[in-house]
């Protein structure tokens, strides 16, 4: 990746964080912690990896993304707005009765959303179905599913993992946002799921591991996944919940809580400082 693209992606990820925070604050509700941890992953997917066209959001040949950890919709909606699927101003209506931005992704009403999700464990199955359809139709689109590491406690995830391996879905890539936290605390305490690499390997998947905040590494892993044949690929992306806002980082308490006005100003200032620096560097 050249320096220009890296800078551009880093800047976009900072904007995703900022817009997600604004949306959650405007709604006084929403899941900010996981939105901040998944921001870099979604940015690379939409702005480096995936072939999608905001002018033709349902093109049959497009790549597809299922946000299986649907509660981090603020980051998804922000990425879609920045990509041009709808105006950024509409994000003010996140979770609002006046808008159509449901708390969890809604494919019927929001352009660019490929699958309605929110009930954990279900999105990956739909993504497997999309990848199966791609194989059946001999199309070359790729399908991505983004999961949380708490989410994979759902048995359905492993049902889907077996099915993806059975059908040799090498057009399918799952990315697990491994931030180590879920509502009730550390995943290691609530329901230990490690070693995830060995689990997926034993389910006959290709396994890649990256720092989920290293944009170049995420992009390289996704590029590599596209070349791996015969099996689906999982990218285990180690992340920090609340990444980018000092007082939210690694705190399970920020899973599903909106900041108050004072907290918002502090968070916004931190994210704005990063944005400002990146924008200056870009000039």
């Amino acid at each position: 990746m050249d320096a220009k693209e890296l800078h551009s992606l880093t800047l976009t990820a900072a904007k995703v964080r900022s817009l997600a925070l604004d949306a959650v604050f405007a709604a006084s509700s929403g899941h900010i912690g996981g939105s901040l941890s998944v921001a870099d992953i979604l940015t690379v997917l939409y702005f480096h990896t995936m072939k999608v066209d905001p002018a033709d959001p349902t093109a049959p040949g497009r790549d597809r993304l299922v946000l299986s950890k649907g509660h981090t919709s603020p980051a998804l909606y922000a990425a879609l707005a920045l990509k041009g699927f709808f105006p950024q101003e509409e994000l003010k209506l996140f979770r609002s009765i006046q808008g159509h931005f449901s708390g969890h992704p809604d494919m019927v009403h929001v352009k660019g959303v490929d699958m309605s999700t929110g009930s954990l464990g279900q999105g990956i199955s739909a993504a497997v179905g999309m990848a199966l359809a791609g194989k059946l139709d001999k199309k070359d689109y790729r399908v991505y599913a983004v999961l949380g590491d708490g989410e994979i406690e759902e048995g359905q995830v492993w049902e889907a993992a077996m099915a993806a391996a059975k059908y040799h879905l090498d057009n399918f890539c799952a990315i697990v946002d491994v931030n180590g936290l879920q509502i009730d605390g550390a995943t290691a305490d609530v329901m230990p799921s490690e070693p995830l690499d060995k689990k997926f390997e034993s389910f006959n998947w290709h396994v890649l591991k990256v720092d989920g905040h290293d944009i170049e590494a995420i992009a390289a892993a996704l590029d590599k996944a596209a070349t791996l044949k015969d099996k689906p690929t999982v990218i285990l992306a180690k992340t920090v919940k609340g990444k980018g806002v000092s007082f939210m980082e690694n705190d399970a308490g920020w899973h599903g809580k909106a900041p108050n006005a004072e907290q918002y100003e502090k968070a916004r200032a931190e994210l704005a400082a990063v944005l400002e620096k990146l924008e200056k560097e870009g000039k």
């Binding site: 049959p60 309605s116 009930s119 464990g121 179905g129 999309m130 359809a133 059946l136 099915a163």
Partner: protein, 316 residues
Amino acid sequence: MGEKIATRAAYGKALVALAEEYPDLVVLDADLSTATMTNGFAKAYPERFFDMGIAECNMVGVAAGLAACGKKPFANSFAMFTVGRAFEQVRNSVAYPRLNVKVVGSHGGLSVGEDGATHQCCEDFATMRSIPGMVVCCPCDGNEMTAAVKALLDYDGPAYLRLGRLAVDTVTDAIPGYKFELGKGVELREGSDAAVIAVGLMVQKALAAAELLAAEGVSLRVIDMHTVKPLDTELVLKAAEETGCIVTTEEHNIIGGLGEAVCACVSGSCPVPVVRHGVEDTFGRSGKAEQVLEHYGLTPEGIAEKVRQALKLKKG
């Protein structure tokens, strides 16, 4: 009366028969293809058949993904598992995003027989009709099932289809002008004293009940309500107005099924007595299918008794 065939057998044949006409039709099963009778399709069209193993929740989700890419998936297992175990997947991954998935529940009701209560789903109408936008369909015989599969392929949206295990008499082929239309019931027998509104294999038993009652001088109208949702309210209200009392009969809990749907319909527009016949809020048990049905009163005589009750409640 036509041949005796289980609706699941007619369903399996219909899938194969319609496969060429509907190239987007794909079939999923959860290790029960020999029982749901999707095995014929699996053999004829292996590339369009997906055995997802004993994992119904994933199967329904995969079907949703296939539908999101333009396929017309039929996802199969026993009713207990497609709509029981995978209820939430049907609600959130299929119905909420309005995806074109046909959720199929074979072995509905008590007529599963020997397998017993764990496999006798008498809650599927209730759960499926409570989901916004779901169509709920349960044909009474092989002839009706064949037509229903085609109608469901032509219908773009989420639907639930119940199949029966037991071989049943074909009755709809003898009806002059019989035409299957989703959401439209069929009057199989004229009658003026009372109307029985039946679904699934209770349709045949309702016709037998009409014969029993005819001997007592009672003229019983028999309506085959193959689509439980959306309910054919026009036909229900016509029966209420013209006969003055209704009995509903279903191989399902009397809570939440056809009976309650009919009650809701008449209570707001033409309040006449409605007596519900079905499984009286209890679990089933093992036995030969016909013995189990008899044990729970799902017989022509059981229906006739409810009609006598309804007639007593009738005004005037």
